[in-house]
Point group: C2
Chain length 568, copies 2
Amino acid sequence: MRRSRRLKHWGWGYEDQAPTAAQLREAAAGIRERFGFGGEARAAVPPAEVEVRAPRLRRPEAFGDLFTDEKYERVSRALGKAYRDVVRGHRGEFEHPPDLVALPRDCSEVGTVLSWAEAEGAAVVPFGGGTSVVGGVEARLGDRPVVTMDLRRLDRLVEVDATSLAARIEAGATGPRLEEQLREHGLTMRCFPQSFEYATLGGWIATRAGGHFATRETHVDDLVESVRAVTPRGTWESRRLPGSGAGPSPDRLLLGSEGILGAITDAWVRVRPRPEWKAAATVRFEGFADACEAVREIVQAGLDPANCRLLEAAEAEMTGAGDGSAHLLLLAFESAHHPVDGPLQVALAAAEDHGGRPDAPRVTEPSPPSHSGRNPPSTGRKLKEGLSFRPTNKGGAREGDGSAAESWRGAFLLAPYLRDTFVSCGVLSETFETAITWDRLEEFHAAVMATTRRVVAEVSGAPREGRGAPLVTCRFTHAYPDGVAPYFTVLAPAVRGGEVEQWDEVKAAVSEALLEGGGTITHHHAIGRDHRPWYDRQRPAPFAAALRAAKAELDPAAILNPGVLLDP
Amino acid sequence: MRRSRRLKHWGWGYEDQAPTAAQLREAAAGIRERFGFGGEARAAVPPAEVEVRAPRLRRPEAFGDLFTDEKYERVSRALGKAYRDVVRGHRGEFEHPPDLVALPRDCSEVGTVLSWAEAEGAAVVPFGGGTSVVGGVEARLGDRPVVTMDLRRLDRLVEVDATSLAARIEAGATGPRLEEQLREHGLTMRCFPQSFEYATLGGWIATRAGGHFATRETHVDDLVESVRAVTPRGTWESRRLPGSGAGPSPDRLLLGSEGILGAITDAWVRVRPRPEWKAAATVRFEGFADACEAVREIVQAGLDPANCRLLEAAEAEMTGAGDGSAHLLLLAFESAHHPVDGPLQVALAAAEDHGGRPDAPRVTEPSPPSHSGRNPPSTGRKLKEGLSFRPTNKGGAREGDGSAAESWRGAFLLAPYLRDTFVSCGVLSETFETAITWDRLEEFHAAVMATTRRVVAEVSGAPREGRGAPLVTCRFTHAYPDGVAPYFTVLAPAVRGGEVEQWDEVKAAVSEALLEGGGTITHHHAIGRDHRPWYDRQRPAPFAAALRAAKAELDPAAILNPGVLLDP
């Protein structure tokens, strides 16, 4: 069942999700009409016509089906999902296919793959869902042979501790796969990055993925209780602890290590009962600065909304969440334990104080009898109900309620699919994300927008304003008491055949602006190979030296994902 | 002014805080009466009679007053504040005094100290408040000369960003010093470890101190926005960012590094306006297991109380917070933005569901006009007031309200002073702290209590029960959705002259029990030298190798705090 679908050999999603030629033609016309740019739809080079170099490693027979040299496997694991990857995949250009793909079933087989590769002088690229948008899985290593280690066979929920609300899950489990297994226990991890459908737990940990929560537990980091990774020099396994102060955190050195120190095989993660109380509202703002101040007050008040995403008017319009007449703040609180319309009202009051106009809150309560079984007896329940603060539209709203948040969520999950269509139709489509403290936000946002608009217009030869001008929009994906994570989206006419160079130029200019403005080169997309030049300047030099030394110690033959975070 | 008081050359606090001989005699009698053990008070060896070896390093004249070889400085910086340190200090035994004490004024002078020491082949021990209870500041290095680098001259608030609620503070600022400077801006860091009065920001960061908050931001880790440290191979300075996913976190490798990678000189930390709304209550439980379940429900509900400390009945009695008839749960919420009696009521309802009996909540509201200047205009204010849920005793409670929480807080801050008195009066007084997931708590707690009771009775020759039996009590200092941090306190008859050996035996047995039960050797007391044997077993071997390699890279001459975390 869940094994019968294969990932597309290029772009986003499964093979059966690709649009037909007629659908693509229609899409191309629609894009031209809506944006004033884009060309005719071009079909991707079909798998059969893709040419890849012969494997430079001979598949070792001794290990059964642990290694494969099948073309589909090698091609579909050759690239990530950055715009420059999707463009090349669409053209059938797979410059750096792995020579072999390894499919370990357990920790011991992961160790076997590492030992074999080390003996062969081959590099090993750990591979989860392959959703990297930063060149994290493409081994650009010249003559050095490469084994891509796909962890998809390690996809089980191994153990549940319902008392501590924690679960041990294998690294290759995708979002849906791990949620499906947790659901049997009435639990959820609630880590919903945009890559949710395909990306894996191990990938999230290795890249410090940003998840569902717009505040507080913004990265997967905070959901990790302990991690196990196999390194070329033994297994790295931390204790299951709710908190510890014993030296620098071992887990925090693996979090974000992007496969250069070891291959993560499983982790104990913090889970929770499914939320049954929800309260959400959308707030419209005329001024963007006012909206920022509202977000700042809400997070600095310690209200911790699960959703707190600010969409610029243009971004709201593009995603269908709004009509472009106002900036939208999507606010939502959730709990498996008690009503949350109280904190929503406090947040809405703060938003109103900054000129926001909230719509009617949508409040969800558990349908009796509750499924969670964690409801307290009547006394407590009564008190908890007392917390409900003047709910309006009580019980009327569920997921799929036609709200701005719902439209945005749909667009959010659709975006990577849509990008394949953009690529087919000659549209450059890219995103940049960062984080910055509040004090520098206004200037930073203005500078990054200006740079992006300028360079995108330059490389696409498009007008800077009016019909046919590139679209550059912004939203805030995560918010903190001391700052925010802005996320920029770009749509522009692609120069056909020159997309990669075009992208490289935009990437470089925008990345410079992010760095110069004091931001981070990535808030949750990771470093990979594409962010290296700016990451190298951002990180403290002694830390880089420490990381290099740590890697040399654990991976002396430098087999693990060479070129990521550090030079190969 | 603030420079006029000198720290005692042994034990806790300033010189002028030592009890008189008459007070000590009285205390000894009181202790014997209350506990049925303890002996006559013995005076500490006075500073003038302390003998220390001559400095093995000649004070370099070229650097003015950067280095000193004064006896008081060398003696008072020779030991931390573990029981075994206080005992030895009391006896006048300072085996490992630093040869010189360095007192840098800025980053550049910190670099000078490191360079000079490296050239001289000397070790450098970074020193904050010297409150380590794990041998973190005692250089047990045999013939190797030692410079203790006291950072007390770096104690300034350098910069405040009131918009992002962050402040740059130098590492040598003690708790009161940094809070006094933040107060001028209406801000507070609210990091209140037991060592608050003497310990420093740099020390907290280097040891991952546990602070004020019983849930959520339990360690100083979460309050750190960026850190600067001087290493022997250059300055390690991270960017100010509210969040980032750019590789493994550089800050998280310095957090808990205990001075082995570099000397922390300053940090940007997250601060906040002083809380003006508070809501607190004490809940009594007959069954300890019920009380644990209440705590578990409260933290798993995501309520995040600022205080959520469970005291076993015996511990409550010992600290004067209770009469020993019930286990006490101290609950408190606080906010600078809105009323918090609503979440307190939800928490109390949960506690009642588990058999808890709450006293009347104490609710504090800001006195008009508010000092924070952050109050929203009337609309928002009205809504926020609407959140107040049936407050009782409104406005009647302030700090110092005579509540159980207040008694406990007083005892908490007094404990280290009291320990000096215990040492003088022949009482062994020690604490052990750890963390464990909820699923293992019951068995773990029972096993650690049993081991501690057994070994303490053995080494003290005291009866295991009845009058004169050692006291072993427990509280939970921090609580997490997936577990809790138990903290054990021991009082027993000391074997005079054999206190260190007695302590070593207890320490070893209890530490074994912590490790075997699956806990951590420390939740917030750090590793130092005393926790090494168990830390070495607890941490993943490849992580130890990585840390060793990182240190070798940044500190090739191994001058920085040798013996801490890693072998010298």
